[in-house]
Amino acid sequence: MSDTGPAKISVRGLRKSFGRKRVLDGVDIDCASGESLVIIGGSGTGKSVLIKCILGLLHPEAGSIRVDGLETAGLRRGERERLLQRFGMLFQGSALFDSLSVWENVAFGLVHGRGVEGLRAREVALAKLGAVGLGPEVSLLRPAELSGGMQKRVALARAIAAEPEIVFFDEPTTGLDPIMADVINDLIVKCVREVGTTAVSITHDMVSARKIADRIAMLHQGRIVWHGPTAEIDRSGNPYVDQFINGRAEGPIQMEIRAA
């Protein structure tokens, strides 16, 4: 499904249910190396579930997930840990560790995942904090002492601290004011363009999607209903995409609204 080169990540026929509710119903999607893929879709369409399945945080019922051609479904614990060293993840709610300072959060993956010595890890953490526009004075604060935008930037610094090959961004701009959202978008673009990272983002923020994506895919009712280059999204000819990107209540996507 990728038109831009060999697939870094390849997902085929992915299915995942929670009880009787089928969230992913045969997802097929590829992401090429160095590409920024954005998956759009309404709330509750399974975007986060898709990312969690790829990371191994959730176990799909069926389907194949390959990273650089290696099948990742059914990996053992140790193999999974080694694979995850190639990934970074920015969580929707930042998911910073409350009990650790900002720099310890950023350095966590280096110290615990890669065995980097403390002082060296701190230097890297301060450099990454600088890269996301945060000075060393922030490094000793606790996450609870930061604003939402600053927490997001710290989470971004943590996600890229070990310079992973692949970074996932889960709703990177949700809950931020437009200016801070644009700052985060710029940082993601910088991360992808300058470092050559493969990025998979999920969002329903079209401003963000247009800015950070090389390619966009739309997830609806557990399937990818359209995918293509960002420049083509306005002439996709797909009624689901048209309704979504124009934010119309009328169309093939029916929101479940209960009458009062």
Partner: protein, 258 residues
């Protein structure tokens, strides 16, 4: 009738599934102890949390338990002119039963609930998933240090509780009931055997493991935001308390049952 049987069956199957999941959780966590990395600092931090910060509440409970035990024994034993056995009854009751059980229940309330709340909050805010994505096994990093700390710290805490409890009995015996201090102390260690203290410490180690396991387990599998975390703390305290009483009987039977 069929519906009733189906409901009973569903509850029973749910119980079996829950027990299986708990055993798997404990087994997978203990398996992480066989290979590095280890987190000795995390174990020390948890030992301070469980041990040092529980000392006031355990000390207070122990001293009043010892005092009440001496007083109650006196009112009963005086009817049979057996007052001289009070010191022995106090020391055996405290070391074998009351020290470990009272300490276990107090720590379950204080520490088990806190563990469930902390790990539960980490679960619902994606911090546990974040640990995984940072190539860190949450069972190894979060759960194993707490289990180890519970296992090591509870016996120390119970030893302190034993001493304070016996001292409480001594205070009442000597200053309220008028026993001779020397005679009371003689009676205290005259019939005390090593097995009395050791059985209490073995109980304490098992209780410490149970408290940490139930706190971590219920926190780890909590879901549904603040309400889910609240529920996890309740389950952690209730299940740890019940298991403490059940294992107290089993260990007593193993040590002293004929």
């Amino acid at each position: 009738m069929l519906r009733f049987l189906a409901a009973v069956g569903a509850v029973f199957l749910g119980f079996l599934a829950g027990t299986g999941r708990l055993v798997m959780f404990a087994g997978l966590t203990l398996a992480t102890a066989l290979t590095p990395p280890f987190y000795p600092r995390a174990i020390l931090r948890e030992m301070v949390n469980i041990g040092y910060f529980s000392l006031p509440v355990v000390g207070l409970t122990a001293i009043f338990t010892g005092m009440v035990l001496a007083l109650q024994s006196y009112t009963g034993f005086s009817r049979f002119a057996a007052e001289s056995a009070i010191a022995t009854v106090v020391v055996l009751s405290v070391t074998r039963e009351l020290g470990p059980v009272i300490t276990g229940l107090m720590v379950a309330g204080r520490v088990g609930a806190a563990m469930a709340a902390e790990i539960g909050t980490m679960r619902v805010t994606d911090q546990i998933d974040a640990l995984t994505t940072l190539s860190t096994d949450p069972l190894r990093y979060l759960v194993l240090p707490r289990l180890a700390a519970g296992l090591i710290t509870l016996p120390i805490l119970v030893l302190v509780a034993d001493i304070i409890g016996v001292f409480g009995g001594y205070l009442v015996g000597v200053y309220r009931l008028g026993f001779n201090p020397e005679a009371y102390l003689n009676r205290t260690h005259q019939y005390l055997e090593t097995i009395d203290v050791v059985s209490g410490l073995v109980k304490a180690a098992v209780f410490g493991f149970i408290i940490a396991l139930m706190g971590c387990y219920h926190g780890y599998y909590s879901r549904g935001g603040a309400q889910g975390v609240g529920q996890a703390t309740t389950y952690a305290v209730v299940s740890a308390s019940v298991l403490i009483l059940v294992f107290n009987y089993l260990i007593t039977a193993a040590f002293f049952g004929r």
